[in-house]
Amino acid sequence: MLAFLLKRLLNAAFVMLAVALLAFMIFRFFGDPVEMMVNEQATQSDRAELRERLGLNDGLLTQYVRFVGNAVQGDFGISYRNQQDVMVLMAERFPATFELVIVATVLSLLIGIPCGVLTAVYQDRKLADGLQLASIVGVSLPSFVVGILLILVFSVTLGWLPAFGRGDTVDIGWWSSGFFTPSGRAALILPSISLSLFQITLVMRLVRAEMLEVLRSDFIKFARARGLPLSVVHWRHALRNCLMPVITLTGMQIGNLIAFALVTETVFQWPGMGLLFIQAVTFVDIPVMAAYLMLVSFIFVLINTLVDITYAYVDPRLRSDASVKGGVANGH
């Protein structure tokens, strides 16, 4: 298990280095940073001094190493636009996005998995047909349309839930959470539904397909021959064998959700990283863009690594520790 862990971590580190190279290149391709930072009255010597101070006269490799070194310490420089430390800006916005994505993911699993099992088990009932139909709608509707519709119905017409913002937040250390105030929770509902709708249908369809496959297998037939009730056969034996791809999908999709959150955050004016990024793009605020890229990639890589490790936990066959292999050898 240790060797497996080490290998995965090394892989992750290489991927991050490659992403860092990309983020680093942005600075070179989006024009001269000095030109963007100084005002028009700056003299040539001012510019040269700034260039020297920023280390832009050093070799590329030196600059890259310095960039990575700073990034590892969480230092992405100063935002061009509001002259604030980029990492501080990110840290302010990150909890909002993270809470939104987590709630959306939990929703998608809590709703998607049971719906998937039901549609697979009761294949020939009306309920299953209805859910299937609903899932097609869910897959096809773009998330900004869903968001706008939700706002129209629940905020404008019914007036039940807020249409924008995050409500009141509580600070726990540097983390500002919306979970602990009524207005924070109310504000979470619409954005997270809008963000998770696509995800719910994805999980549901995946679970359904996997279930149909697993239900045909011998061990399901044998479980029935052992006299286990259908509920146990379906929800314990069959479902657990469907969870691997669901874990993969969920893991991969958390990354996607953070990216998709950009749209949802714009629709609901949710003060998260996505909104920050959109603003950064408008103002060619490169340090913020680079930091966003690095941070999102880091989350992607982190999640993928965690998913791989979870695999090993859920499926004992993937645990590569010696005792398992030994078990096969002395099997007779």
Binding site: K221, F222, A225, R226, L228, P229, G331
Partner: protein, 322 residues
């Protein structure tokens, strides 16, 4: 009749398909006593597994029992609902399937699966169920059960895995075990161990065993009586020894001729010409008639019934009468 654990009478299993209704099992009658092993032998698609699944109530839809009666220790079970059958399954009748590799859920330890089955059928606590699981494991010959109980199926060899499957079948002391090709996926030396184990358990516990296989060798070694199936019907049924030594139905004669002998100096194995008919085009009369060398006129018109002596063949019938 009182000693009969399983009685099947005129069982007919049908599969409604778009091309019409296929009859997978047709007019099969048989019985198994306590402590008896009845072998069911035949080619693939002869309906032997279907017969077993019909008894267990595990026919895959759209397959269904179209007619016939099944009794388990005197209780009629062919008309029970799914739930009522579910209560019987595992408790009074158990199954062993062909491939021990795929019969066990790979994500649960064998202990989990044993305890789960035991607690499903017997009202015992966790510890008691685990103790019983350990006992069962040692009874079926799994060494070091206290260690092995917490292992996953993939940590067992094929033979050991089939022993686990047998232990699972034994959880609630069933009266009847339906073993569907229990040794087919195993290599020969392990086969003998598993059939030996089945035989011992059957005698010791007075269970009735239906041993479904295509391997005449396994039948000859293990079974007390044997039924030969062909195209969904029983061709011949009788004591193993008599049937192996003096087969009467032309199909059984052909089967026996096709078994290589270790002692005899046989130059060439005989084979039965042709193939078993598909379910979609079973010939009129005796379904074996296109391949039979002894057919008489009646074979093409009328389906032969199983006689009291246990053969379904017009030619044998005429011979005996003359």
């Amino acid at each position: 009749m009182t000693d009969d654990v399983l009685v099947v009478e005129d069982l007919r299993v049908e599969f409604p398909t778009r091309k019409g209704v296929l009859t997978a099992v047709d007019g099969v009658s048989l019985s198994i006593k306590r402590g008896e092993i009845l072998g069911i032998v035949g080619e693939s698609g002869a309906g032997k597994s279907m017969t077993g699944m019909a008894v267990l109530g595990l026919l895959e839809p759209p397959g269904r029992i179209a007619s016939g009666k099944i009794w388990l220790s005197g209780q009629r079970i062919d008309q029970l609902s799914d739930d009522e059958l579910r209560v019987l399954r595992g408790k009074r009748m158990a199954a062993i399937f062909q491939d021990p590799l795929t019969s066990l859920n790979p994500l649960f330890t064998v202990g989990d699966q044993l305890v789960e089955t035991i607690r499903q059928h017997l009202s015992v606590g966790k510890d008691e169920a685990r103790q019983r699981a350990l006992d069962l494991m040692s009874e079926v010959g799994i060494p070091a059960p206290t260690v092995r109980i917490d292992h996953y199926p993939h940590q067992f060899s094929g033979g050991m895995r089939q022993r686990v499957v047998i232990a699972l079948a034994l959880c609630a002391e069933p009266e009847l075990i339906i073993a569907d090709e229990p040794t087919t996926a195993l290599d020969v030396s392990i086969q003998a161990q598993i059939t030996g184990l089945l035989k011992r358990l059957c005698k010791e516990r007075g269970m009735a065993v239906m041993l479904v296989t295509h391997d005449m060798g396994v039948i000859a070694e293990t079974a007390d009586r044997v039924g030969v199936m062909y195209a969904g019907r029983l061709a011949e049924i009788g004591e193993v020894e008599a049937l192996v030594k003096t087969p009467r139905h032309p199909y059984t004669v052909g089967l026996m001729g096709a078994i290589p002998s270790l002692t005899g100096d046989v130059k060439e194995l005989s084979q039965i010409p042709g193939n078993m008919p598909r379910l979609t085009d079973i010939p009129q009369g005796c379904s074996f008639n296109p391949r039979c060398s002894r057919h008489v006129d009646r074979c093409f018109v009328e389906v032969p019934e199983l006689s009291h002596s246990g053969v379904a063949c017009w030619s044998v019938d005429e011979e005996r009468r003359s």
